[in-house]
Structures are given as structure tokens and as C-alpha cells.
Symmetry: C2
Subunit: 312 residues, 2 copies
Amino acid sequence: MGSSEPPTVAIVRDRLRALQERLCGEFELLDGSGRFRAERWQSGSGEGDTRTLVGGSVFERGGVGYSSAHGAMLPPAATERRLELAGRPYRAIGLTLALHPRNPYVPAANLHLRFLTTEEKDPAWWFGGGFDLIPSYPFDEDVRHWHRTAQEALLPFGENLHPRFKEGCDRATFLPHRGESLGVGGIAFEDFAEGGFDRCLSLVQAVGEAFIPAYAPIVIRRREHPFGERERSFQLERRGRSVEFQLLRDRSTLFGLQSGGRTEAILMTLPPLAAWRSSASHAPGTPEARLVGEFLLPRDWLAEERVLDPRR
Amino acid sequence: MGSSEPPTVAIVRDRLRALQERLCGEFELLDGSGRFRAERWQSGSGEGDTRTLVGGSVFERGGVGYSSAHGAMLPPAATERRLELAGRPYRAIGLTLALHPRNPYVPAANLHLRFLTTEEKDPAWWFGGGFDLIPSYPFDEDVRHWHRTAQEALLPFGENLHPRFKEGCDRATFLPHRGESLGVGGIAFEDFAEGGFDRCLSLVQAVGEAFIPAYAPIVIRRREHPFGERERSFQLERRGRSVEFQLLRDRSTLFGLQSGGRTEAILMTLPPLAAWRSSASHAPGTPEARLVGEFLLPRDWLAEERVLDPRR
């Protein structure tokens, strides 16, 4: 593998590994008592380092996984928009984070960053990734803070990126069989190579780093919020939606499982506990009904913020 | 719809509806306190009657759903082995049962029966279905009883059917990404039309009726078995596998969701609560490791029984 590895792979790997360290450190600090345990693994087609925090004070479970895979033939599923690359040898590396808080007032959150390159003399490559927020009992100010932080992280790379990436996330996280979004979205990009490798790498790193100031303040604000059985039960129901999303819709999960990836590493993002109710809907006017009716649909949160506060 | 409905549809509907009544009655009796509540529904492409038992003494949740769907064009996914039928108007009716017991020593179980016909002057039709058992802490004698009852139900229709249908179930319930079976199997058949409509209908009814003597004695034997947190936790983990099976592998779930079926009716078979562990495996020698190593693989349970007791 060594000699055929394009130099870009080593550069991206170093950045993603450093980011993994930093994310684990930040969220251990935030948790207070939980520690990430590392499991390094190798398989026929790849290797990885899966870090899992179990039973923390704030996080019931957290996972921050790095993985690398290579193959002799790039599957068509990975090249939907660049079909001419199908069948070429490739190398893919990625960082995945999923956090499942205990307190139902603290939203769950996901972060993905990936790089794919074909191994030719003149390699083709692109980045993909993004982050999204999955509240059970959302607060408007948290949702606006989340989207604002994403917008600010992308601003140095051009004003047009945030609206595109936000819409990309709204599209990617919609659950057609439920007629609702998984959460309140965030940003998502795919097949991204605009402006050259250095710019794209900086953008991906900025997205990964922005996850911390986007998410941590929400955790701090809500982690002491009182809750009871009702809120816990609804949280578990919403986690059921996350399971449905991951197993039915998430392209990287399905691609990973179908291509023989390491199951434990791919499914480490699933929640520790999830529930399914037998009755479909919540009573109108309850916070649970309000989540679906007011939050789980594409909304231009930052435009609404400008209406509320024209100075922004 | 009325005038274009082939007479076979009304016949099958009556049988499946009667079977639904009987199954609900039997499992209410077995539960002792829980009652099935009916929800009748209609949608653009179908109708149904979903019956759910919640919070029973024996069953944490049970669902017995009848549904009927029709469409102008039979999707290719439903005609893998008879491609000449793709695109014809069709009608499909089905009965689905899923039982999730409280006690981890009582296995979960599924039953499916379905009928599909094209609406032409000379309609093509077939039946599909079967049942399978999903133990967390299995007993050899239960597994043998389960397979023996299935074998006996099929015997009047020919000696060759049970081995074929058992192998069909082993194949259908294998989880490649886990390298293990979902449970200990049972019987499964697809595109079945051998010997004419009357014979096939009798066979399907025999399968549906055999589910009761196959499953009920196991429930009765194990429902008082003492258990603690460890067994409950493993049960929830195994239910996680059932969720993976249903959302990743189960063709009728995926077909139903993709064709715009009623989500609540399709997903009523999901467990009320499921868990995912962060570490992959159980310590060798534990009952939990024994389940995977000794039970969750295709085994000829009835041949083993003949070795143990040559009189059979």
C-alpha cells in the first residue's frame, strides 16, 4: 500500500487524526467523568481507530471513529456524479462522530468528514462531510446558534457555501417514510473539490473544528435541565428515528456494510438504547408534537434571526 | 376496485382475517392481561387493520396486522423470479405478526403470510410467508419443538417441502454484516404457486394455524423463568439485531416503505425497546456467547433429534 499511496492521503490522515484527538479531549472535558477508550483494528480492506465513551455523566454514549479503506475498484455508489471514475482503485479515509447525551434536553449530534482519492498518476479526489443536530426538546436560540456557527465557519470560503451546504443537509437528513426531518439539520457536502486541494482541506478542517463551538455551548446550557420519565421516553423514541435514518437512509452506513467494512466500527454511531411507540402521533399542543410540526422541517433559521434582530 | 378484484382475493382475505382474529384471541389468552387494540386505516393505495397489544403480562408488545394494497404496475422488486409480470396491475394482501415478550427466556417470534395477484382475465398469483423464532437464551428442546411443529404442518403437502422451506428461512434470516443468523429460523417460502390455488391456500392456512402450537408451548414453559438485569440487557441487544434485520434486510419492509405504504403499519413489528452495545463480543463460555456460536447458524435440528432419539 505504502508506495501507491498518494501524498494527499497522508496529509488528510494527519489532520483527521489530530482532529479526532482534539474532539475526544474536548468532549471528555465537557463530560467530566467519561473517558474515550480506543480500539485499533485492521481488516482485509482497511484499518481504523474507534474511540468510544460509555456511561459518562453527560454522554450516555459517544463515538469518534477514524477509518481508512482501500479497494481495487471504486464502486458506482461512490461515484454517482462522476461515473467516469467507477472501477478505479481508490482509498477512502474518514472521521465519524456521534454523541448521545443522557439529558433529553441536550440534542444528539453527528459529524462526518471524509476524503476519497483514486490511486492513479493523476489522482481524482474529493471531500464530503458535515454535521447535524438532533434535538428532542429544542430551543430556538440553540438552533440559531448551531446554524450561525456553521455559517461563520464557512464564510472565509465564500458566502454562497453555507446556503448550499445547509440545503444539502436538509435534503440528506429528510426521512421520506416519516414525512419529517431527522433533526434540525446543519451542513452537508458531497463530491467537493472546488478551488483545489489546499482550500478544500482547510474547509474540512474548519468544519471539524467548528463542531466544538457549535455544539459545546448547547450542551453546557441544557445538561442540567430537569427531566422525567416522559422526556426520557420521548428521547428514546427520537433515537429510534436515528436508527431508522442510519439503517435505511445513511449512504455511508449502507456503503460501508455492503462493501464489507467493519460492522462494529460502522454501527458504533447507533444509540445505546432506542424505542418505538405503538401509536403514531403525540397530542396536539404538546412539546413532542411541536418538535415535529415546528422544528423537523427545512427552515431558514438565520433569515428568521435577522427578522427578530435586524442588526445581524 | 370492487369489480376488478379477482375472486381469489376475497377468499384469501376471509382466511387471513379469520386467522388474525384467532391469533389475537389465542395470544390474549396466553398473555392473561393484555388486549389487542384495533386501528383500521385507509390510504391511497390500500387499507388495513393493525392490532397492537401493549404492556401485557407476557408480551411487552405484540402486533398482528392485516393489510391490502393495490397498484397499477407491479414493481420489478416483487417479481424477481417472474419478470414477465412486471408492470401489470396487482393486488397484494398480507398478515404480519410480531411478538416481543418481556421475559428474555421467552423467544420473540414472527409470522408472515402474503398473497399477490395480477388483475387480468387470467390472473397470475402466488403466496409467500413463513415464521421464525428469535431466542436470546434458547433451549434445545424448544428449538426442536419449533421445527418439528413446522415439519408436521407441512407434511400433508409433501415430504420435500419442509427441508426446502427451512433452508429458505435460514437464507432469508441470515445477517451477513453480523456473520450470524437473526434467530434459529423456521420456514419461509416465496413465489409459491405449486399444485394450484386451493392447495396453496390450504398450505398457507396450515402454516398460520401451526404458528400457535409451535410457539405457545414455548411461551408457557419459559414465561416464569427467573431473570435479572443481565438477561434483560442481552435481550435488548438481540432486539437491536431484529431492528437491523428489519431495516437492512427484510424485503417486505423495504418494499413497503419504498412503495409508500403506511409507515406505522409496516414498522409496528419493531421492538418497543432495543439496545446496541459498544463492545462487540461476549466472553467465551457465557450463555450469551453460546447463543451466537451454537444457535445462530443453520443447523439441522430435526436430524440431530433423530440421532438423540432414533424412534423419531
